[in-house]
């Protein structure tokens, strides 16, 4: 470590014990102790953060994983960052393996672009740099006016495929909807495998499909406005029956995606692939949100294994469903922290990453 600068301090501002795992691992790899900090919720549910060591002139890294209580995790981070800023920290880097609200990054009807709101709040609180992993949309980097390092989990997932799936050379990388085709393509290229794309399954209500509504909103009932002022209505998209483009007969199917949250679409895709002749079905995703009944649905489905990284703690879900496996990515986060602190180049961490990953 470079000791001529103020020094490095790593904090993890999570109050939930399972969320502190990542922070502990990273600190271990870097050979430093986690900073002394108290984060807790008071009786009236307000979050309180008390830093117990000096951060003046130091490079602070705040590692924050998103727990079940997303809003509380965000608040803990904001309070922590602001406290460091007002205590004259030299720089404050946020390490958020999973960036919250990343699925609400587009305008939906009369909603709000929450990702932009959170980006603004973090910058205003005093964040000077952000390290995250596999942003849902790369454009989210543009919401920030500070440098953002969007690391990739794909090398780890690729390594898992090559080491843990014995006959992976007989596999096909599958995109469960056309939206994830580019990601499937970048995986397939690096493994020298073919791809398949599933098209036509019902989109769930929570998907970030832009509904084409900009201002003014399109009028539904044509009777209400003057006939000469009719604005042509947007034709609703037709949903074709489920088709699989590509051949999965007699092969292992590996579905890749960035987030696995509500598993309905994955389970449906697995059914389809099984019907078309796939003999084993894997799901590889970077962020395993696995909310509510997901573990049970996976257990009962045709999916053989679900592989996620430890960006989001999911111990409870693993207990409920033994099909879920974890890949540890703390190595790349700690390497990123080390390089940023020492002012070294980060390009080594991005070698072998295609344009579409």
């Amino acid at each position: 470590m470079n000791h001529t600068k103020g020094g490095l301090v790593i904090f993890t501002a999570n109050s939930h014990p399972s969320s502190r795992e990542m922070g502990k691992r990273i600190a271990e790899r870097l050979g430093v102790e986690l900073g002394q900090l108290q984060v807790y919720q008071e009786a009236n549910r307000e979050t309180r953060v008390q830093i117990q060591e000096s951060v003046r002139g130091k490079d602070v890294f705040v590692i924050q994983t998103m727990s079940k209580d997303v809003n509380t995790s965000i608040m803990e981070m904001l309070i922590m960052v602001y406290a460091c800023r007002t205590s004259c920290a030299r720089s404050i880097t946020g390490v958020l393996p999973y960036f919250p609200y990343s699925k609400q990054c587009k305008m939906r009807k009369r909603g709000s672009i929450v990702t932009k709101l959170i980006a603004s709040m973090m910058c205003k609180a005093g964040l000077t740099h952000l390290i995250t992993m596999d942003l849902h949309q790369k454009e989210i980097q543009g919401f920030f006016n500070i440098p953002v390092d969007n690391l990739r989990a794909s090398p780890f997932l690729l390594q898992y495929i090559q080491e843990e799936i014995p006959d992976y050379r007989n596999a096909v990388i599958v995109a469960k909807s056309p939206a994830s085709a580019k990601r499937a393509q970048s995986f397939a290229e690096r493994l020298r495998l073919g791809i398949a794309v599933i098209h036509g399954e019902a989109q769930d209500a929570e998907s970030d499909q832009v509904d084409g509504r900009h201002s003014p909103p399109t009028v539904k009932t044509t009777g209400a406005i003057h006939p000469s002022m009719e604005i042509p209505l947007l034709i609703p998209k037709e949903k074709p029956p489920i088709t699989v483009v590509g051949d999965v007969g007699g092969r292992i199917a590996i579905i890749v995606d960035d987030i696995i949250d509500d598993v309905d679409s994955f389970v449906a895709a697995a059914e389809t692939l099984k019907e078309r002749g796939a003999y084993k079905i894997f799901v590889m995703a970077t962020h395993g949100l696995l909310s509510s009944e997901a573990p049970r649905f996976i257990e009962e489905s045709a999916i053989d294994e679900v592989v996620v990284t430890n960006t989001i703690p999911h111990e409870l879900q693993k207990l409920q469903c033994p099909k879920i496996k974890t890949v540890d990515i703390s190595m790349i986060l700690s390497e990123a922290i080390r390089r940023i602190y020492n002012g070294e180049s980060m390009s080594y961490l991005f070698r072998n990453i295609g344009v579409d990953d």
């Binding site: 307000e46 009369r110 909603g111 709000s112 201002s215």
Partner: protein, 285 residues
Amino acid sequence: MPNIKIFSGSSHPDLSQKIADRLGLELGKVVTKKFSNQETCVEIGESVRGEDVYIVQSGCGEINDNLMELLIMINACKIASASRVTAVIPCFPYARQDKKDKSFFDIPVDNLYAEPAVLKWIKENILEWKNCIIVSPDAGGAKRVTSIADRLNVDFALIHKERKKANEVDRMVLVGDVTDRVAILVDDMADTCGTICHAADKLISAGATRVYAILTHGIFSGPAISRINNACFEAVVVTNTIPQEEKMKHCSKIQVIDISMILAEAIRRTHNGESVSYLFSHVPL
């Protein structure tokens, strides 16, 4: 009133409805829910283009969730071209971690006072109010208490913590005479209620005939309700900045002052560009 819309967050729908009723308006349509991954989702259900929007959200219950909901709603209204967005926050969260001072904000802040409503309640509900004594449970509230005492033309007292020696626990000392008087404790918020319950004991043992507690924000977290039930209060009165229905079921001593008319009047005056300072000393009908 044209061009005005009032939306309610999910923290205190009852108060929002009362405010809307007083203004003769319907609450705006908005859907607030949480996705299965616990992320908040807000969708405004009607047009707010060019409207003067008021969002009512109190900092109570799950504070971080309600705060995020408020921020997202404000953001959504701004993006939907509302002409002005005003947040109505009856109980401001995180108020004890830093002062809720006007200078901390870049935008106009109207900090309303419950005092007029408190005075009205005292005159209407405490028979011997002309001979009562207003007490502050700590030295910090002296200004608040003297203001009320002056307007009622009654005496005041205060309780302060005295530490005799380094390792000794604070002693509570009553400054003022409460013998044979009805004592009314006044404070801005009641959280765990440790302080006011001790204060009540002190007042009774000093000769007060009855003890009332009037607090603007009734947070009542942790052991608060059981402490109140075991203490010697005649009544504990709070405003409805924070929903109290659940807590009233567990404690019969809690009474509620409705302050929806103050907020409604503030909204009406702000919308019409009138002065809000009338509300600092009067309760609207």
